[in-house]
Amino acid sequence: MRKCLSCGATYEPVLADGMLYFHTCPPFSAPELRKALDAGTVRLTAAQQAALDAAILRDQDKLPAPGTQSQADQVFASFVVVRPGHRDENVDRDKARVARDDDGTLKRGKTDDDVMKAPGAGIVEVVRP
């Protein structure tokens, strides 16, 4: 079993049916995004900031009912922000064309990392819980 060092996800690289599993990091969840913004590792786009500001104003006009999510929280949670150094194990066709021979085998000195879309921070092998 592998653990992704970019997002902390754990997964089997080969599934029970023998097929390969290509892990892709999820976009930030709301608490992760909030933490990353506080740390200054990501920034909202101008459009996202504008949407958030507008939602905050709407919340000020009409307070959310107790126990419900504010409009600002809803808008914030809907942002799709890719984590910096994210991992995407899927094959990049352009990289693969360079790194593979005609029969599909990797050229000498090339590894799977050379053909994946984004190796990110890498992985470690972990024991299945």
Binding site: Y11, M19, L20, V80, V91, G104
Partner: protein, 279 residues
């Protein structure tokens, strides 16, 4: 048995010059697959004092990658007539939707090849061959696809779950289930299921009910199921649209209102029908 080459009437007059070659291309996702391009070839008699040629058999094996990318083998047969051919799975047990074969005549064997004639294309299995002179043509997205039961990645605590369609695949998302366990932090979470194209949300589906703190709830989703909030048995159902097709890079993921840093998604299993896109 000897045939005088000039008298042979092949089922298909596939005359090959010495510069032509036959090329097998496989797009495959299953492990342990080997396929062979086999056939019968009658060489041309190139000089009057030459012995009459005899029909020979050729067999060229190819072990494709499992990444759904093209793997190819090109072989020159010499000058003569291609009488018939077939692509046979010699190892592995790919199902329909997992190993796609294309056979063509090209000019040259190395470098930039010049495609000349198309012979056939289809998914192949241990019991389903592709062969000519009268091959069936089956497109990449034809047929019932491969049924795949997938175990998803368990995200880190406080992260959303996200599953992406691999490069080269086309999915129909049929059904699945996951567990969402809320931590002690007080907040009413809402779980929605998002279908996106890797960037833009295409559909947002979800239960209208909330999941409070310290609950482990099982969410099931499937095509045409009725929507159902979390009941006393901590089960919830999310309805998927029918025939929902997803291209490579598209994702299904969760969007959790008021998700807390110690909340945890786990036990993620889903069923898809998969084809190879062949792009």
């Amino acid at each position: 048995m000897n045939f005088p080459s000039l008298a042979v009437q092949a089922a298909t007059p596939l005359y090959l010059t010495g510069e032509d070659a036959i090329r097998l291309t496989l797009f495959n996702s299953a492990t342990g697959v080997t396929a062979a391009l086999r056939g019968r070839f009658l060489p041309a008699k190139t000089a009057p004092d030459e012995q009459d040629p005899v029909i020979g058999i050729f067999s060229h094996e190819l072990v494709p990658t499992t990444t759904r990318a093209a793997s190819a083998r090109t072989e020159a047969l010499g000058e003569g007539w291609l009488l018939d051919w077939s692509v046979v799975v010699t190892a592995g047990t790919p199902t329909v939707g997992q190993c796609y074969a294309m056979v063509e005549i090209v000019r040259g064997t190395k470098g930039a090849l010049f495609p000349v004639s198309w012979l056939g294309n289809s998914y192949i299995t241990a019991n389903k061959r592709l062969g000519g002179p009268d091959p069936g043509f089956m497109d990449f997205l034809d047929g019932g696809g491969a049924m795949r039961s997938i175990t998803g990645a368990v995200p880190g605590a406080g992260a959303e779950l996200s599953e992406a369609v691999p490069t080269g695949a086309r999915w129909e998302l049929l059904c699945g289930k996951f567990t969402f366990t809320t931590a002690v932090a007080v907040a009413n979470r809402t779980v929605k299921l998002i279908i996106d194209d890797g960037a833009n949300t295409l559909q947002q589906l979800g239960s209208q009910v909330v999941q409070p703190a310290s609950i482990g709830a099982v969410y099931s989703f499937g095509q045409g199921l009725p929507m159902q909030g979390i009941g006393a048995d901590s089960q919830s159902i999310i309805s998927l649209p029918n025939n929902i097709r997803m291209a490579a890079g598209h994702r299904w993921r969760t969007l959790t209102g008021l998700i807390q840093a110690a909340d945890q998604y786990s036990a993620i299993f889903y069923l898809v029908r998969e084809w190879i896109e062949g792009a």
